[in-house]
């Protein structure tokens, strides 16, 4: 594997309250990433449908943020994914999920958005 060995990103980062960020694995080529925004139905299981899709189709999911929107009936999910030829297939499979309402690219967001949410954003908590 050619993945960088020095200072790997943290594997799991838990943020306060309504925001969860999970790093799946470090990207092999950190320059080519895309951010997808999903509007989803907010209920238990939606996260499993989205992350499970990436796992079983062998797609790369680097980071995910999910926050409830307005009254909490829907949530906004931001996915950091590899910008590879298969991205279109990823989007089409996501669009088939019943709980996914809309999909759009967030050109305004980069990897930096997710790394800012990393462990430096708050002091480590003892478990």
């Amino acid at each position: 594997m050619l993945e960088p060995t020095s200072s790997p990103p943290p594997s799991i980062v838990t943020l306060a309250d309504q925001c969860n960020v999970i790093r799946d694995k470090p990207s092999a080529s950190p320059t080519t990433a895309a951010v997808i925004e999903l509007r989803v139905r907010n209920h238990p299981g939606t996260m499993a449908h989205v992350t499970g899709l990436f796992a079983r189709r062998g797609f790369n999911l680097e980071a995910i943020v999910c926050v409830p929107v307005a009254d909490g009936a829907t949530s906004c999910m931001l996915l950091l994914v590899a910008d590879e030829p298969r991205l279109e297939q990823v989007e089409r499979q996501l669009a088939k999920l019943y709980d996914v309402l809309t999909i759009r690219h967030r050109q305004d967001l980069t990897r930096e958005f997710f790394t800012r949410l990393g462990p430096s954003a708050q002091s480590p908590t003892a478990v």
């Binding site: 499970g52 279109e88 089409r92 669009a95 088939k96 999920l97 019943y98």
Partner: protein
């Protein structure tokens, strides 16, 4: 009206027009079974939940409507999984309902607790865990809508016991769920496809199961003849084009006739319709149809370009797109291309020894079945050599008459699927009140009693009715086994192997309960034939775990279940005996000894391009 969640679930299913459910009870689903006690829904008690899943599949595959299977929590749910996954891969509408431990116990490793939601998530189109009886009012119609809309598929509904027991005051009933129309494909895309098809020199139509799901088989045939384009079918599309059609080239891929795969090498335009470029069809993808550009019609946008880039993708209902495409296409002649297809078909026939010499050669057997069975006979298969021989040699004349596990390749599919098909066909014959799910908020008592029920969806199977059509619908419910024997319904044939049949053999007991007109034909070579074939061809004849040390007496086994059983004698007019056995009414098991070394030819080695086909004569010279 104050009712329990269990009764609410039952009424919602009745309102969906569900008349038959297959399942097995258990602790976590008992409240629902109690609610079934006074229902017009007939419950088919199977001997294994997988049997229930495949019985529901048999009903769904014949009618095109979602069917229901039922299981308890824990092992009941896990036993259903294979049938659910099978429905997913073959796009079969199915609603699987499971009991779950009470919500207070979820997550405590309670008795018969398993994460059914988590287990069904990757093998369903969508799944639900019901948290409150009021949610059933939304979830049940939605489950049917999702199962039947767009690309059909299975939906799982997990219902905790406390939700079944809770009471709820229901005032407004939801509309039953049904298929929603797919968004229309833009005209411009159809215009462009029409231009491309007119410009093509050597077009080929590549039909998949979606053509049958869409009810577009007549339109696909019309398109082929308008374009003078030969047609290849996937396993799931067999029956979409009559086998004697001058443009029909049979199944493509791993076990295609040689001429069929050669034709695809020469095509300059491949129009895929409701097909998904499965590896068993394409062989090595990079070398599939090397000279062709690809156009793809599918209702599932994710299929376009998933395996092979398509220059032209049209998302929508195949029937709608083909109808509009035909409006734009003048008659094309292409005499040279037609002649080439005919020549390839003529020069590469399916190889079989003369019937007089080897009547029980599998290819001869399949051809004989084609001669003696009615064109609308539903035939199911299991998985293995016998399945491929049927695909090659049995003439599937109508859509929805070959039921086979294509994508998942599940051994054990055939018998319960045949039972489900026979149930659906028998129901079609019985009186029907003609109700359709779209009628409105009808009370349960007005619902269709017929699981083949709603007026229908372009099925090619003729709706045959019994002479006593005048009978009141109410008489049709809950046939007792004795009544079942009195009206066994049309003949349904399950072609199986001695390996496959033992994987769900216990459903012979269910068949005996019902007395349906199902005949099980066991192609018996005392081995896992397709495994042995692959070990012979690709693993240096190092046979491992392919031969059975002992094989049961299937005729005696049938009699032990209370069914007619016989074994054909190769030396005493076996085909005549087979015909007579199938002509006699009622369920039966027919054990057919076939040559233990018979192989399915031609065969493309897994991972090889389709032009590299191993044929029998070549094999003989290789090993001479």
């Amino acid at each position: 009206m104050k009712i329990t969640g269990a009764k609410l679930l039952r009424i919602l299913l009745e309102r969906q027009g569900i008349r038959t459910i297959a399942g097995i009870p258990g602790g976590a689903i008992l409240p629902f079974y109690d609610a079934l006690h006074q229902s017009r829904i007939r419950h088919i008690l199977t001997r294994h939940e997988q049997g229930a899943g495949f019985i529901a599949q048999g009903m769904a595959r014949v009618t095109g409507k979602a069917a229901v299977c039922l299981a308890t929590s824990g092992p009941g749910a896990t036993n259903l999984l294979t049938a659910i996954a099978d429905a997913r891969l073959d796009s079969v509408p199915l609603v699987a309902i499971t009991g779950q431990v009470s919500q207070a116990l979820i997550g405590t490793d309670a008795f018969q607790e398993v994460d059914t939601y988590g287990l069904t998530l990757p093998v369903t189109k969508h799944n639900f865990l019901v948290r409150d009886p009021a949610e059933l009012l939304e979830i049940v119609p939605l489950a049917f809508q999702l199962a039947e809309s767009g690309r059909p598929g299975p939906v799982a509904v997990d219902v905790p016991k406390d939700v079944q027991n809770a009471t709820i005051d229901v005032r407004d009933w939801p509309e039953p769920g049904g298929p929603t129309p797919a968004p229309a494909c833009p005209d411009a895309l159809i215009d462009e496809l029409a231009h491309r098809l007119i410009a093509a020199q050597r077009p080929v139509l590549y039909l998949g199961g979606g053509v049958i799901a869409s009810g577009a088989t007549d339109l696909a045939q019309a398109l082929a003849h308008r374009l003078s384009a030969p047609v290849v079918c996937t396993l799931m599309a067999l029956g979409a084009v009559p086998p004697d059609d001058s443009l029909f080239m049979g199944m493509l891929g791993m076990h295609a006739a040689k001429g069929t795969n050669f034709l695809l090498e020469e095509a300059d335009l491949l129009l895929a319709i409701g097909a998904r470029f499965d590896d068993r069809a394409t062989g090595k993808v990079a070398e599939f149809c090397p000279k062709a550009t690809i156009a793809h019609i599918d209702i599932d946008a994710a299929e376009i370009g998933k395996i092979k880039p398509a220059f032209h993708g049209l998302v929508g209902d195949a029937a709608d797109i083909l109808r509009r495409l035909l409006d734009r296409l003048p008659q094309q002649r292409r005499p040279a291309w037609r002649a080439r297809a005919t020549e390839l078909r003529r020069t590469h026939p399916l190889h079989a020894p003369p019937c007089a010499d080897q009547p029980l050669h599998p290819v001869n057997l399949c051809r004989h079945l084609g001669e003696i069975l009615e064109p609308d006979t539903v035939l199911t298969t299991d998985v293995g050599q016998h399945q491929m021989w049927i695909a090659q040699a049995y003439p599937v004349r109508r859509p929805r008459t070959l039921l086979t596990s294509g994508g998942l390749g599940t051994m054990g599919f055939g018998l319960p699927a045949a039972i489900g098909a026979a149930l659906a066909l028998r129901a079609r014959r019985s009186p029907d009140d003609g109700g359709s799910p779209a009628e409105g908020p009808a009370l349960p008592v007005r619902r269709s009693l017929d699981e083949g029920g709603s007026p229908a969806e372009g099925l090619a199977l003729p709706v045959r009715r019994s002479l006593d059509e005048g009978g009141s619908p109410a008489e049709g419910l809950a046939l007792s086994p004795a009544e079942g024997l009195a009206e066994p319904g049309p003949r349904v044939v399950c072609v199986s192997g001695d390996g496959s049949i033992l994987m769900n053999i216990q459903e012979l007991a269910t068949l005996a309960d019902l007395g349906l007109n199902v005949a099980v034909l066991v192609f018996n070579n005392a081995q896992l034939g397709l495994v042995r074939q692959q070990q012979e061809l690709f693993y240096g004849r190092r046979y491992e775990a392919a031969h059975f040390a002992s094989v049961p007496d299937f005729a005696a086994l049938a009699r032990a279940f209370g069914l007619r059983g016989l074994r054909l004698n190769p030396n005493r007019d076996p085909l005549g005996e087979l015909s007579a056995a199938l002509a006699a009414p009622g369920p039966c098991v027919i054990d057919i000894p076939i040559h233990e070394l018979a192989n399915v030819y031609p065969m493309v080695p897994p991972g090889a391009p389709n032009r590299q086909m191993i044929a029998e004569p070549e094999l003989a010279s290789t090993h001479a």
